[in-house]
Symmetry: D2
Subunit: 400 residues, 4 copies
């Protein structure tokens, strides 16, 4: 039975189309919805809208669902539409009156939002942990092999000398700034939407929104209920943008590694166990994992774009379109987490090859100009002197 | 056993990450890969690279797989990576030598491409059929209720009078032009990539690519093997762009209907069986199906963008990133097909309400100006005369 | 004076904001609007809505504007808002009554659309010409230096041998298919929107839309006026998508060239006159032109997505948002045309270096396997034999 | 003379193409580059790389440029390529030796980055000020007209009653959270890139990067020079994402207002001075300004995605592609600032119409259910009772 069942039959094709894959996506929200429902039930009890017995029953029911879910046994059927309905139906089936009361003073709109926000908090914290792991792997590489020299490139041309330490340190620094972004988003989203109901608050009943907010670990409840709904279109893309940022960090690393590990360069070797082969060319060792991380950056971008594009040109208040951002949100976070994980592994397996990391003479041209500067030659003149020398050679860098 | 197995072990995390959900996505390619493999085997026979017996065995094996697949019984395991491996392994297990020969003169690269192209042809033809159905539903509506007048809007302000016939006809016309686009893409993609192998053709062996192309119903084989690989990044986004075009047609229709069916307008009614309700507000009848079609336009856009963005800044020749466009391609076509289907149903259920479709006087202002024009007043003067009259009124359009 | 002036004052900030840079963008539309206005005037004459004298005056006036414009002397002032107003004001100032009549039976909506479509036709034809030039440059390169061998890459790893002819031929083939796309768009957009007026046709007056369509060289007028308006949101993104396709062709070429011309590869040399330098590193010769062409692909993508994203979630009929696609359309076409031009120049200047294009032994591994196949070894067994041999070596391809 | 001039001639077409419109875009960076150059010169003096006299000359020269620029008289010629060259050339022309020394210990790469970062800081602070103004206008509206009741919508269907106070408060709250985002970005970008040079630091010379950082008001210098370069691809899209967020706030407001001001609703009136007209329909008063703000959201999205898409798949170190994000960055900030400004004006001019803001009975259905809840009826039962009552009516909400 749907939450909004009023006795008329929904066209089956329409039902199938509107439910989509929500009943599958929602699996990961079950535990969060239980946590939020428990906080809500306690606030209902505080407002005398539940008896102590009813609260105890709901508490027991939610615990039972959480346990089932932890063992992968709580099933959301397609007819349930989503986890929220499945949970309410479970409670009503088990506890009758109490189950029918749990939805008092909330709407599915703020219920979804609250569960999502709890999920997002967990995911952002996990993202921070993975960013720290990845930064740790990059720093460990810098410590272990950092003194090996590396040609630095601009415009994909040899520019100046650098080191493995500087190169690996770049990604550690990027990951640390990405983690600061995650911290900001944790603070931005630290506002409970519960009690905003359908986006216009709860009349008649007098429920303490600050109380349920605190129970769930939020600093405050969002005061304006219309804004509470709007945050769905604002906070979710912001989180996806962070995922884009994280994936950009990894895309850069993967792009470097694909090139630096080409036999033509040979700066670094990927362990054989990280490479795949070709169905036709017997000699191939391909860096698929790097190419996929590189490509998944764009997949995450596309998801961010979906969420932003679909939020446009719609009036205030919940519109069903918003639900289509749920899958993209999950996809972005899943991809960022899995990619950080795999790239920490990859980083841990890299072996730089000192013999191949040749620092060609032209990398030192700027240094040469600076030596002239130290002798008092104005920089622009020093630059031209050194340039003339390099131009003398048949093909700059041709020694390559 | 993987096609490229050479005896070393792949790191399990890396393997899991690189396989991704390909083994699931590939289910829909099984029948197409069988068709392509059959054509390829016949070309191998023609080149004397298979015996008549081997060809017969491969033919039987492929038929068996096709049958299993039609009954949902052909399984692609995660360890198989993809359908191509599962099929080759099936043939090798059943027919030994013959199975080991089927991959002669092709690479997984051109094999995937060929299967995708057969899938795309089927999907584009289905798209044309659905576009025709949808255009038919719109035309039927125009015939049945077309004479009902309807306010025409520009800038979301009442502009000039129109009719249900003109309004519905707009979507039929759009769908017909979308179908012309599908025709073009069918002709553009009517080039067999089979035999381009890894993107550099097949040396030593002498296989007739035109023959296998004709067997699969292509007009020709793509001559340049490097371009054959490149078409993956070009034709797929083009097909996704068509899906964006189709979804834009439906987004416009859905946007109109969400507004025209608001009780405040009441121009048209959606059958109750097409509407969903609210978990909190007992009175609600919501047009979720329309909102989802509207929103899915942006989801398709996002997929198109993924495919285009990930193809950039990569050198020629296959890069694994390309595989990440497979899911988006399927998602775009699935969404376009399902949405056309559901909107044909919705269009068939619409009931325009003649009483509510009031043509307010200001809609006729242009007509009034034109009557003055017929009397010889220059248009710009007629315009200003009529404008002055309307400005006299307290609130233009306020009669609403 | 604005076309819609009714005597009240527009807030200056609002006016400034709404005009935006339209009055600048519109410069390129002047000649097209004159051509369309002339066809419209002739249709008005045919409908007896202009006298012969008035038509002669309008014809003279439009010719005068076209001449001024060709010499860069026709000015569109910010207060004019756009070229359409500037043109009508010019006619009214010079010819009074006749000028006031030219807007009879059309709206700025269909007027803009018509001028855009004439511009688009011209631009698409120019695109075809540039694609042909570029394909010609690629073919010339294939003829002149085509026999030089080149390593073919997959996964950015040496795969199989190829040649400059195959490599250059890929881009010629891509450009030819892009030109077929342009042909399709020329045929799709070969429909005159003139007479659809504000999107609801022209009542009272009896103007022959087919006549004006033919005068402008269109095969037909768009029958459905609501669809005519909608084509703006459909045809323009389709044209921009073609620009994305063209830029993808060039992005691939530029990506190849940036890498192939690295001193570490040295397959090809860019003339010194095509390279820029660094402000700090005296030795640098940078391929900026290639990097910019590569980057501009993404700029064009972004424009395509603007146009698609902004068209969503809006009801039928003109909405001002549509005008924001004008700049993106121009930007896409300008970029594609300029980039084709410059890359034809670049392609003409390439010098492949036979000495550096070494075909390393592992490129022939597949050939070796095929030789075993010719001797009767099943391909999969041949593959494994050759693979074992290459795995024996310390590092496949390590010979670098 | 270009900074990298080494005596060979650049192909004119290539030069024209590579300079693009940088020399125009850079106008806004002149003052920031002067500020950064002054800090750099002082750090050079501290390192004894400039004499006191040279520092004084450079200081005077930079002051002169800043003054000229403030009066719009500092010209960047196309041949200059960019503002950095124009400034160095001005100094060299005026002060010879001193001018030739100012580029010591920096590259154009970190110079551009530093100027951009100063510009970004100024722009983010201005954004905060405009967000505050806009939030102030929304709050003022809430105070002045807040008690007027307003129908609240979900799924574009009447849902529950709300007020102008709640509605306007939503946008004030959104703007305040957008400002928190700006604060975060100010803190994220509070790192000086100066001295990272071409991305590999400055050898030989011993320049105090922390000193120049403090002189420019940064908390610190970015330690890792490779990361410093990478921040360009990370911080700029982050700022553009904030612009997307701001524009989404305004897109929502504009979408509401376009609908609420339709004569069919009449909830609110836009002053006549804010509306534009039609060239054909004499009665029209169009809300172009709202439609443009709505549409510009998508334009900003497109710019954000350009910047993100073009940063992908490129190796570490400066690539010229990055420069193509400069125009998009400026476009995003310009659009956000102008749109906030205009929407503060629009918000200040709104007049809600109490008579038209009718609260239809079905808006109170939830309230009715809650009254039953207070009497002890479980919510789900109360919901069904009220739903049955509303379903009895011919058409829910049909009273509209």
């Amino acid at each position: 039975m749907k939450l909004w069942d009023k006795g008329f039959e929904l066209n089956k094709d329409i039902e199938f189309f509107t439910v989509g894959d929500d009943y599958i996506l929602d699996r990961r929200l079950v535990k969060h919805d239980c946590a939020a429902s428990l906080a809500h039930a306690r606030a209902l009890r505080k407002a005398r809208l539940l008896t102590a017995k009813e609260l105890a029953e709901i508490t027991a029911g939610l615990r039972k669902i959480t346990d089932l879910d932890a063992r992968g046994k709580f099933v959301i059927k397609r007819e349930d539409e989503d986890c929220h309905t499945a949970i309410e139906n479970f409670l009503t089936a088990g506890y009758g009156e109490a189950g029918k009361k749990v939805h008092t003073g909330r709407s599915r709109n703020d219920q979804v939002l609250t569960a999502l926000r709890l999920y997002e908090r967990e995911a952002l914290n996990e993202l921070k942990a993975r960013l720290a792991d990845f930064a740790g792997a990059a720093s460990a590489l810098a410590r272990a092999q950092g003194r090996i020299g590396l040609p630095g490139y601009t415009h994909m041309r040899r520019a100046m000398p650098t080191t493995v330490a500087a190169w690996a340190g770049c990604f550690a620094a990027a990951a640390r700034d990405d983690a600061r972004f995650a911290d900001f988003l944790l603070s931005l989203t630290d506002q409970s939407p519960l009690g905003s109901a359908a986006g216009f608050g709860v009349p008649v009943l007098n429920i303490d929104r600050g109380y349920s907010a605190r129970l769930m670990g939020f600093s405050k409840a969002i005061e304006n209920p219309i804004y509470a709904q709007f945050t769905r279109s604002k906070f979710e893309p912001a989180i996806m943008h962070l995922c884009s940022q994280v994936m950009l960090t990894l895309n850069k690393l993967a792009s470097d590694l694909v090139m630096f590990s080409m036999p033509e360069f040979g700066f670094v070797e990927l362990p054989e166990a990280f490479c795949t082969g070709s169905s036709i060319m017997p000699q191939k060792k391909n860096p698929d994992v790097l190419e996929l991380v590189r490509g998944k950056y764009h997949a995450v971008l596309g998801e961010e774009f979906k969420a932003l594009s679909l939020a446009g040109n719609l009036i205030s208040g919940y519109n069903r379109d918003a639900q289509l951002a749920k899958g993209p949100l999950f996809a972005c976070l899943d991809t960022a987490l899995a990619s950080l994980n795999i790239m920490a592994t990859v980083t841990g397996g890299l072996r730089f090859n000192r013999e191949r990391c040749v620092l060609a003479p032209e990398l030192f041209a700027t240094e040469e100009a600076y030596r002239l500067v130290r002798q008092g030659v104005p920089f622009r003149d020093a630059y031209r002197q050194v340039a003339a020398k390099f131009r003398g050679g048949a093909e700059p860098g041709g020694a390559g």
